[in-house]
Symmetry: C2
Subunit: 411 residues, 2 copies
């Protein structure tokens, strides 16, 4: 039995690099950027008009002139024109190139136009106003986005702007999620009295979907030789195996034994936490590279095995507390720990880290965590009323209202 | 020109009900639940063993007996067996039905087994321990999830458990995102000196994708008759038109005029905010129901038109500040305002609501907002360095370090 901290340490040390692939930029949302994004030209690429109005030469205005003959028009998307007479003005549109021989834009709101003459109706004009100068936001060659960043809508805009129609992102691990347990039947089936429907594999699929990782699912009956044959195959085919169930002390908890027989190295079994204690974690070196190729496992990494306990809340919290950080480390992103403030006293006597479901709320910039009392690790429905787990350390038994602790959100 | 508050009010009053559709439960993540999810049986459906070990009759233990002959085994997924002799015990596995004539489970850790006899090695045994009683988490008919909730992994687990292989969710509006502006070229093109690549439509696609709303995109040149023909068609086909650009005072900002000619009712134009001021908002009643049907617009709602200003940050913030709440209201979910604490003094003199980019961080349960200084509404790259907008009210000019204001996250 090891501590949560030791378990985290071992799991982060088992992170893997799955390489890089190129995807169309619009498919890259939620993926991890694996190249620097560099400005292909200055931003803006020209002295850009930032208000609709007229462009003038400021010196003429400073010398006392208020009315300007409109010499021409410069729409957005047209080649730069040149003002022939510095006493005149050019009508300019937002997004247009500032016309040559002009340097200052006065917005339409501050101008009256009559018979082709624009008259400025305000006094406060500054030289270069309403012009977004070439290169102000970035010079050609500047790094606009560093690598190892989660791509969001903001990054999509920049990728489009610099013409990155395809972009390099971290490859995703190939994951299979496997349930065991003869009490489980399919979602569409009517369970007998002693049966229940499968649910953990689907919560895991959804938790991985949140990270934009697609996954396969499988169910194996509690039969040791069937388990062994199937798992041997999965170890050759996938980068990650996520199990739910069959890792505790039960007579039919065959997984630890099967893993040992298949040469999966046990890195730990059991963590001092509640829920989720019987968590089994290990890694396997694939033996047969030919077979690997045949099964299209594309990298030469080890296969990582997360054996989550079968209770719904145990599986759920362990995926968040261990798989999520393992994935972040593997693809090279830094995650920040978030903390929240308890709104009630909590007492927890066992010498275990306590992952307690909480409802989060916000008050004056404070993140508040209100404990949701469920009926133990089997009570899946209680997750519906919470948003996150608060992580209360094993070293304490009393946790006071107003104290802050780390939280892991799942919404 | 109206205030942000008035604009929000008008937009929320223009929310629409797009109806309900049934989807496979695993495709429902991020969608809005539109039915109550009810327990189809008690949870747990039987007195459920929650630890691997032995099941006994507690009275026998209380009467002084410590060693029990193992009479049988009750695996998970098997029909309930019955203990014949109350002096004996049954080996039981997590998830199994508690055998008849037993009521208390002692985990393997607290038992030694030798020659078919299990001897309890601890004194502290409580009646009914390690048994999760039938119906403890919920009774048949109980509402496990109320309608109008965003479906996350937690809800997916419950849906699976109660056998909801298909689930009713809010239908999504049909959305098209339209860019205008002759200065814009495609992402794969090399722009001429006076051109830039399209980016706003793609940031909008990504922002909608975050809400699980698919969208179409189009680009229309700055030609009034082309705009009119195309938009007339889109009004018949889509529930929502999102525009970027052509709503300000420029000579080629044809949209307000085109909307008027097409009978789109202007609900407001221009909001006292920066960035994003020239925002145009309206709605249109489709004239020709036959044509609507032909174009597969499935509801009889009005078409909603969001005319966002074309500057990248303006489009971005207005989608978050207006389209997001409109969608939430339309599909029936309540959203909570989040607030964050400024880490620096900010001064903003214009009598406008100021949407300022901030980087969020967490310290002892406090959400901190650090302003990111960009180069105005054209500086898309500055969004990469921030996580959210803080909304500073028009009624103040000085915003002090330590004060809290609403924030809108985009990561």
């Amino acid at each position: 039995m090891i501590s949560v901290k030791e378990a985290e340490h071992i799991i982060l040390n088992s992170s893997q690099n799955f390489g890089v692939e190129e995807v169309p930029f619009l498919k890259a949302v939620g993926r991890i950027l694996k190249e620097e994004i560099v400005a292909d030209r200055d931003f803006p690429p020209f002295n850009r008009v930032s208000m609709d109005g007229i462009a003038i030469d400021f010196t003429t205005f400073r010398n006392g002139k208020k009315s300007f003959k409109i010499e021409g028009i410069q729409p957005a998307g047209s080649e730069q024109i040149s003002m022939q007479n510095k006493e005149n003005c050019i009508e300019v549109m937002t997004g247009a190139v500032l016309p040559d021989n002009t340097n200052t834009v006065i917005r339409y709101e501050d101008v009256t136009i009559k018979n082709g003459i624009a008259t400025i109706t305000v006094d406060a004009i500054k030289k270069n106003q309403n012009v977004h100068p070439k290169g102000k936001d970035g010079k050609v060659g500047d790094v606009l986005i560093t690598a190892n960043k989660v791509i969001s809508a903001a990054e999509i805009g920049v990728l489009a702007t610099v013409g990155k129609s395809n972009v390099k992102v971290a490859k995703l691990p190939k994951v299979i999620i496997i349930s065991t347990g003869d009490e489980l039947v399919g979602v569409e089936e009517i369970p007998l009295e002693h049966q229940i429907r499968r649910s953990n594999v689907f919560t895991l699929v959804s938790l991985l979907e949140k990270l934009h990782i697609p996954s396969k699912t499988a169910h194996i009956t509690d039969n040791k030789s069937v388990l062994k044959t199937k798992i041997e195959n999965y170890l050759q085919t996938y980068d990650v195996l996520l199990f739910s169930g069959a890792v505790s002390k039960g007579k039919f908890d065959f997984l630890p034994g099967v893993f040992e027989e298949l040469g999966v190295e046990k890195l730990f079994h059991k963590v001092t936490q509640r829920p989720g204690k019987p968590f089994w974690f290990g890694s396997a070196t694939s033996l047969n590279t030919d077979e690997k190729e045949e099964h299209q496992k594309e990298n030469s990494n080890k296969t990582i095995v997360f054996g989550f306990p079968g209770n719904p809340i145990s599986t759920f919290v362990n995926c968040l507390a261990y798989f999520y950080p393992w994935y972040s480390k593997s693809v090279g992103i830094e995650t920040k720990e978030e903390t929240a403030i308890l709104t009630e006293n909590v007492t927890f006597k066992p010498n275990l880290t306590y992952f307690l479901q909480v409802k989060l709320s916000d008050k004056f910039g404070h993140l508040l965590a209100t404990p949701i009392t469920g009926n133990g690790s089997g009570d899946l429905a209680s997750l519906v009323h919470a948003d996150a787990f608060i992580k209360l350390p094993a070293t304490q038994t009393a946790f006071k209202k107003g104290e802050n602790y780390p939280v892991i959100r799942y919404r």
